[in-house]
């Protein structure tokens, strides 16, 4: 493994509050036109003053508590001064030397197996700037437009220690973080741009490079993988890795050195005089956390008998965990084992293949499918076929059929005993594959499996695998006689 790789992350997450951090403007701007969710405060009009949204501090403290951080009894907002057209006041209100919380950790599944603890440095609260829309491209555009709808959206920045040793661990850290934030009901990962990551990465003994502007979960793994290769190549050529800031270009999957000007920022932090210091001692003590991913994983193993891997997968996303529990609610004992496998292994694979979200799949239909499998009405192979039809119908927004309806229409019910069809298929399969028959006679184990496959193909998977094995063995023995 790449044990000489050192990775630390700075993760910016939008808190899913109803209004912005310092004004009453709605945060639900994504489907509206530019500059429609703005007021004197988030436009930074002369004379406007910030008023802290308590809910966002409540949310941030939930996160801090869930991530085992120490919430400081007094924290403070500061101004980070820099010029940029998307920054309405020419400073960002953030936290600097007195952040909301310090320390803490998040446990992930390490590359070497087992739980691995990633330490956190701090969590602080800040406002999002607006957004530039470049007409043409950023370098040689005709002009740029500014949209301040995003300005003032509450963010938390979670800074980790350099405890990750591979791009994969970084990805796992982010996934676990996302799950935790969703369990806390403070974050909506479906919203575009709700998570942004800056990564610090170095090869042991070399300078550290900061990669900015990573906006997706997959992007983190990609950016880090690219950067490790680049840095190792630099070292291999006997050159030095420069300490610098690089931008990740998502579309091309590469990092690019930022202009030197951008690296010379002096943000001239000082305490925000328009806000009072934040005192949260009694407030933070009153915060009660909901069940978090690790606890739910343990519960899934104890309550439903899930394997560690299934429990980890199912609880790794809030929606998935809720979906599972709804699927099995009518008969936890009878359905859990089968449902866990079918959701964690089959459903996720089919969704990923279609680049499809879980939301359109209703748990009731899925329960129907699991019940058909449980009752032995259909084979596993037919089960997959039914599931694919179910997903395709939802993807195309057709009227969805029930699983039983699909089984009936496609005639997928398992063939019980020998109705003649299987016998015929077996005879045909043997006749068409004399080579397999000879191999079988020669004692080659693969031959039987090959013939099972051929019969399954002919019966379109309806044959019960156990029954088929028995009948095929019988037929082969007959031929030998």
């Amino acid at each position: 493994m790449e044990t000489d790789v050192i990775v630390g992350l700075e993760v910016h997450c939008q808190l899913d509050t109803k209004s912005k951090l310092f004004c009453g403007c709605s945060t639900d701007y994504r489907s509206d036109g530019p500059n429609t969710h703005v007021c004197p405060i988030c436009l930074g009009l002369p004379g406007a003053m910030p008023v802290l949204n308590k809910r966002s501090i409540e949310y941030a403290m939930r996160v801090a508590k869930a991530l085992n951080c120490t919430v400081l009894h007094e924290s403070e907002f500061s101004r980070k001064n820099y010029f940029y057209p998307d920054l309405d006041k020419a400073y960002q209100i953030t936290q600097y030397d007195k952040p909301l919380a310090e320390g803490g950790y998040l446990e992930i599944e390490g590359d070497e197996g087992g739980e691995k603890r990633i330490r956190l440095t701090r969590i602080h609260v800040e406002e999002d700037p607006g957004r530039l829309v470049h007409m043409g491209n950023a370098e040689r555009g005709k002009y740029s437009l500014v949209d301040y709808n995003r300005a003032g959206i509450p963010l938390i920045e979670i800074v980790s220690e350099p405890d990750m040793r591979s791009p994969k661990e970084a990805r796992k850290f982010l996934n676990k973080l996302r799950a935790t934030l969703e369990y806390l009901s403070v974050f909506d990962s479906d919203k575009e741009g709700s998570l942004r990551v800056d990564a610090n990465i170095s090869i042991k003994g070399s300078e550290r490079v900061e990669v900015k502007n990573i906006t997706s979960y997959k992007g983190v793994e990609k950016a880090l993988t690219f950067e490790i290769t680049r840095q190792k190549n630099v070292l291999r050529r006997g050159q030095k890795v420069d300490r610098e800031t690089r931008h990740f270009l998502e579309a091309r999957g590469v990092t690019q050195s930022a202009r030197s000007k951008e690296q010379e920022h002096d943000y001239r932090y000082f305490p925000e005089p328009d806000l009072r210091p934040l005192h949260v001692r009694s407030w933070v003590e009153g915060i009660v956390l909901p069940e978090l991913p690790d606890a739910r994983r343990e519960r899934f193993m104890a309550q439903y008998g899930c394997s560690l891997n299934h429990a980890r997968t199912l609880t790794g996303e809030l929606k998935l965990a809720n979906f599972f529990e709804k699927v099995v609610v009518s008969d936890p004992k009878g359905l859990s084992m089968l449902a866990a496998t079918w959701i964690a292994d089959t459903l996720i694979g089919e969704l990923n293949f279609r680049d499809m979200e879980l939301d359109p799949v209703d748990p009731e239909s899925f329960t129907g499918l699991v019940r058909l499998l449980k009752a032995g009405t259909i084979t596993d192979k037919s089960g997959v076929e039914v599931l694919r039809v179910m997903l395709d119908q939802r993807l195309k927004q057709e009227t969805p059929e029930t699983p039983a309806g699909i089984v009936a229409r496609l005639n997928l019910a398992k063939t019980k005993g020998d109705t003649g069809a299987i016998t015929t298929a077996i005879e045909e399969a043997i006749n068409e594959n004399q080579k397999a028959l000879e191999d079988y006679r020669a004692g080659k184990a693969g031959a039987l499996n090959f013939l099972v496959g051929q019969v399954m193909k002919k019966t379109r998977g309806r044959a019960d695998p156990g029954e088929l094995n028995r009948m095929l063995a019988e037929a082969l023995q007959k031929r030998e006689a």
Partner: protein, 433 residues
């Protein structure tokens, strides 16, 4: 806001107004139909608000400052926007992009600043009262120079929402008027908690001035009568304090040793905050627009170079320097320590006395163009900045003349004892009428 309107067509030969509202409407209330002038750094919906700067020329706020909203609710008629030193940066109102205001007492002299327009509008009789703002003396200095009364309220007592910030941690909006009663009445209207200003407190002002000061203990700091204070001004103020003693007050000598660093602490703090506050004026959202054919950073430079006056640029650069990496500890952090020392000195003195009295300004109003070097202008703030550093209330009330020009008596009180400084000023005013 339907209602009646008044006629307001003053003969403004002093350049006190940047904008005159000729037919301001008003409703009923405590100030029904009273023409009130508003300093041009206070946002007024629908009325151009420039801070006397070219960079805000043409900017019409879409909202009212909280104090303006309160004025309108009280029935006041907004008579216009008054001239000032650009963004409040000055002691003379000469640093206005739209020409200086002249002192109605002597048009060869400045009215003081930065609320010089408001003071001149009152002193010349164009309006009875006006709003000013005071960051380091900007209400009290022009009040003293023009012979009117002006109160810098306790920090947190009046909402700053809508006041275009120069130095947030120091400044307050405050009332200016011909008499202490007018100042008190205007204070009743504008004071109180505002949920839009997190630094405002729930301390409404419902007081009516009361002239009884028997048994009052007045601290007389030696620093207020020391080097740099014009002896004629000091003499006028001492006579005034004598009148207060005749009214039953006793005086106690005291000292504010921290004043040695007060001016430095003040200028570091206000320039640091200003460098950040004034960074937003980039021509993107309001004010004269940038040339969009240029890269944004070049356009910013162009807009800011053309838009800001010399003194504003100087203070932005000073503040930017003082906050920059490696200097924060040397300047900003040290200034806050000095500021804390000023606070402690006042606390110590106020354990023994009820108010502190001295001159508002070390001299009478300067001649136009007299203060040409910035440092000598900064030094003129020495007697007013301590109250801003400590956040305490301070009033300037006219107390006679020196060389034919008005002199101001300054009364400072404990934090949130604005009522008491009003009473002392009122007692003096009633005694000399």
């Amino acid at each position: 806001m339907s209602g009646t309107s008044i006629r307001f067509e003053p003969d403004d030969t002093f350049n006190a107004f940047l904008t005159v509202c000729k037919r301001p409407t008003h409703t009923g209330g405590k100030l029904a139909g009273v023409a009130v002038a508003v300093k041009d750094n206070i946002s007024t919906r629908g009325i151009e608000t420039t801070c006397a700067s070219r960079i805000l020329k043409g900017y019409v706020p879409p909202y009212d400052a909280h104090v303006v909203e309160l004025l309108r609710k009280s029935g006041a008629a907004i008579a216009g926007k008054t001239n000032m030193d650009e963004f409040g940066m000055g002691t003379t109102t000469e640093n206005s992009a739209f020409g200086p205001t002249l002192n109605p007492c002597d048009t060869g002299r400045v009215p003081g600043g930065s609320s010089g327009g408001s003071a001149a509008a009152i002193a010349s009789g164009m309006v009875r009262m006006a709003l000013g703002t005071d960051t380091g003396g900007s209400i009290r200095c022009p009040a003293a120079f023009c012979g009117i009364t002006g109160l810098k309220p306790s920090y947190g007592r009046v909402s700053r929402y809508g006041l275009i910030a120069y130095a947030n941690s120091l400044e307050q909006v405050g009332p200016m008027g011909r008499t202490v009663s007018d100042v008190s009445t205007l204070m009743q209207v504008i004071a109180g908690y505002d949920r839009h200003d997190s630094t405002s407190l729930n301390k409404p002002y419902t007081h009516t001035p009361h002239a009884e000061i028997k048994g009052l203990k007045i601290g007389i700091p030696e620093e207020y009568f020391g080097e740099g204070v014009d002896p004629k001004v000091a003499a006028s103020v001492k006579i005034a304090i004598g009148r207060l003693e005749e009214l039953g007050a006793t005086t106690v000598p005291c000292s504010i040793p921290s004043m040695e660093y007060a001016l430095a602490a003040y200028y570091v703090t206000c320039t640091c905050e200003a460098s950040s506050n004034l960074a937003r004026f980039d021509g993107v959202r309001y004010g004269p627009a940038a040339d969009t054919k240029k890269p944004w950073h070049e356009a910013y430079q162009e807009v800011r170079r053309a838009g800001f006056g010399t003194e504003v640029r100087r203070r932005i650069m000073l503040g930017t320097f003082a906050l920059s990496s490696g200097y924060y500890g040397k300047y900003y952090a040290k200034a806050q320590v000095a500021r804390e020392n000023v606070r402690k000195d006042f606390q110590r003195i106020f354990a023994d006395v009820d108010v502190i009295a001295g001159p508002t300004m070390p001299t009478i109003a300067f001649r136009l163009c007299e203060k040409s070097d910035p440092l000598s202008m900064y030094l003129a703030d020495i007697l007013t900045v301590p109250a801003n550093l400590a956040g305490i209330p301070a009033i300037s009330v006219p107390c006679g003349k020196a060389d034919g020009m008005p002199v101001g008596l300054q009364i400072m009180g404990r934090h949130f004892e604005d009522e008491r400084v009003i009473d002392v000023a009122y007692a003096y005013e009633q005694a000399v009428i």
